[in-house]
């Protein structure tokens, strides 16, 4: 049940006037004036084109934009010169925009979206990323249908990715979630997702959500909550995910820290589940699988490989506190070996798990643990791109499958040490 203190009196009045809805599309925003109008139009067109009979609302939770984003959401129209809508919806899609208060960040916005969905008894909830400029109306039915058909409680996206695209996901988060949670989810960091009211209600009941214990990576937390609590996952093919160029985007160290904190927090919260979880199962997939992404020339990662060699030597005294002797010897050998950098899958899996154990044992502050892993992650990325940077999708897919299996093989030992710690 939603905590009604999340919702102001004014908002409650608006929501009561809306009544029950079938579909709620939530858009958390913060200074997205350049992109939000297209997102709203695409959502509107998706609902109108594919769910003409559905009662729906587009709900915008804004965390204090100063560029007029809420006004743009409210005033965005679907009329666009040159666009002819093939069908007209039978119902009007309500649109509500409101500021949210409390802890800044996407987590608070999504919590408010879930609270509104719970109040409106929305059968299907979709949360969109307002920064995505490649969002099409077809994304809405792709994310909604599995929930409305009651075949899934949470629907994760599937994007086509080039080999150099999203290594933090493909090299670290995806194989780790696969090994730990036992599901082959391609995009655990769900930029946009669909879910059922049952799942939203479950998340709202988690006391940690309002207390700040949920890390900034709320997407990963929701993935973990869904997988660890028996909710049915699905993934659906969407198009390429292109983001607007932000004026300011956090640097890689901050992003990496955030992701590692989220990963660790999830593993700690759900350890009673993943410590005993067996081999990974496939996640049901709907829609046409993403087509091949045009692969350009292999990115030049020579500098990254050289930096990796220097960084491993420089960080050796710190790595000694985190890695086992065998793993450290392997990493040092990989870093200092002549020729192209090769960071094997098994060694990388062992590295990641030992870093997570270091987190768990608090051998040093968590910020130091995460920042020490960063150069190793860049080395692994350089190694992967040197081998597969210009390979075709099938070869890359096989390589990533091999990486996932390496993580699964490394998990039992890590689980045993986690329990001991």
């Amino acid at each position: 049940m939603a905590d009604e203190s999340l919702l102001s009196d004014d908002l409650l009045r608006q929501l009561v006037a809306v009544g029950h809805v079938d579909i709620l599309v939530g858009i958390p925003t913060l200074n997205n004036a350049t992109t939000v109008v297209d997102v709203v139009r695409a959502a509107q067109a998706g609902i109108g084109g594919y769910f003409p009979r559905a009662r729906s609302v587009i709900f915008n939770a804004d965390s204090g934009s100063d560029d007029g984003t809420p006004d743009l959401v409210r005033d965005a129209t679907t009329d666009d010169t040159g666009t002819v809508t093939a069908s007209r919806p039978l119902r009007t899609t309500q649109r509500i925009t409101t500021p949210y208060h409390g802890l800044p960040g996407k987590g608070s916005a999504v919590r408010m979206i879930f609270a509104v969905a719970d109040l409106l008894s929305a059968d299907a909830i979709v949360v969109l990323d307002p920064d995505v400029i490649s969002l099409t109306p077809e994304w809405i039915p792709a994310l909604v249908r599995p929930v409305r058909d009651t075949t899934a409680d949470i629907v994760a996206p599937l994007y086509p990715r080039a080999p150099a695209d999203g290594p933090l996901v493909t090299q670290l988060v995806r194989p780790l979630v696969r090994a730990a949670y036992g599901w082959r989810l391609q995009e655990p960091l769900m930029g946009e997702f669909g879910c059922s009211r049952r799942f939203a209600g479950h998340c709202l009941e988690r006391p940690a959500w309002g207390s700040g214990a949920i890390p900034d990576g709320v997407d990963l937390w929701m993935t973990g909550e869904a997988l660890a609590n028996g909710f049915r996952p699905a993934q659906t093919a969407l198009g390429p995910r292109l983001l607007a160029r932000a004026r300011t985007r956090p640097g890689l160290p901050d992003v990496f820290q955030q992701v590692m904190d989220a990963v660790y927090a999830c593993l700690e919260m759900h350890d009673s589940y993943w410590l005993t979880r067996g081999p990974a199962q496939p996640v049901p997939c709907t829609g046409t699988l993403p087509g091949a992404v045009e692969v350009g020339p292999r990115p030049d990662v020579t500098g990254m490989a050289q930096a990796f060699a220097r960084d491993v030597v420089a960080l050796h005294p710190v790595l000694q506190k985190i890695l086992s002797d065998a793993t450290l010897a392997g990493v040092t050998a990989a870093a200092t070996a002549p020729g192209p950098l090769v960071y094997p899958d098994e060694l990388w899996a062992a590295t990641v798990f030992e870093f997570l154990l270091a987190y768990h044992r608090a051998v040093m502050t968590r910020e130091h643990v995460a920042q020490t892993l960063l150069p190793l992650y860049l080395g692994r990325t350089a190694s992967f791109l040197q081998q597969y940077g210009s390979s075709g999708p099938a070869v890359v897919q096989d390589a990533l499958e091999s990486l996932g299996q390496a993580f699964e093989l490394a998990k039992p030992q890590a689980a045993a040490q986690w329990k001991k710690a």
């Binding site: 695209d165 160290p253 990115p299 420089a314 960080l315 005294p317």
Partner: protein, 233 residues
């Protein structure tokens, strides 16, 4: 005349015997106090050691870096060191109490001075331990940040940071126990000032190019680091 000298010598002898007679019990008491003090100090040493083992004190010291410092300095492990300090503090206290019983004017007040000195010594030890912890933390934070920021010679930079913090902690500890206070403060001020001046000259005059490259890295123009050429999420 002869009788007078003999009487004087006899009187001196009697006085000496009287003094020894009066002093002997005090010496016996002093020896007893020292012996009992040794037994108590020995018992306390083992009690403290057992308590520290039960509290996994060595493990905690290893985690904060004190264990490594002791190993480098060829000192015994932390629990043995602490128990030894307790032993010597207690026994020296008993020894000074025993010396006080002897009643030598020149030695009066030693117990009081020692009692005033012990808390300052303990505070100095705490300052040193905290200094080691802070130095290790600063070293590690600097090393990791320097590596990720592509600062040249990250180990030199982080080592220098650790050395500076340790020197500062050492100077504070020595000042606390008032050991060669003027010399320590003056030497510290001269050394610290010289290091800062040297760094300023080296960096400003000799390292202008490096400074420019570092600043360019921290405040980059368009044209980013290799790993920022593709998106990571």
């Amino acid at each position: 005349m002869t009788q007078m000298v003999a009487d004087a010598v006899r009187q001196v002898g009697v006085n000496f015997v009287d003094t020894v007679t009066m002093l002997l019990p005090r010496i016996l008491i002093t020896v007893s106090i020292v012996a009992v003090g040794w037994v108590i100090a020995w018992a306390l040493k083992w009690a403290v050691r057992w308590l520290l083992i039960w509290l996994r004190f060595n493990h905690g010291c290893d985690r904060i870096g004190v264990g490594a410092v002791l190993k480098t300095a060829d000192l015994p492990p932390a629990d043995i060191l602490v128990s030894l300090i307790v032993f010597w503090l207690v026994w020296v206290g008993f020894m000074l109490s025993g010396v006080d019983v002897l009643g030598f004017t020149a030695l009066e007040g030693m117990v009081r001075s020692f009692a005033l000195f012990v808390p300052r010594l303990l505070v100095a030890i705490v300052i040193l331990v905290l200094g080691v912890v802070c130095a290790n933390f600063a070293w590690r934070a600097t090393l990791i940040a320097a590596v990720n920021a592509r600062v040249p010679s990250p180990r030199v930079v982080s080592g220098a940071v650790r050395a500076l913090v340790l020197i500062l902690a050492g100077a504070m500890a020595l000042d606390q126990i008032a050991l060669a206070r003027t010399i320590v403060l003056t030497a510290f001020a001269i050394a610290f000032g010289a290091v800062m001046l040297g760094l300023a000259i080296a960096f400003g005059v000799g390292g202008g190019g490096i400074a420019r490259r570092i600043l360019d890295h921290w405040f980059p123009e368009p044209g980013r680091a290799e790993h920022e050429e593709f998106r990571h999420l």
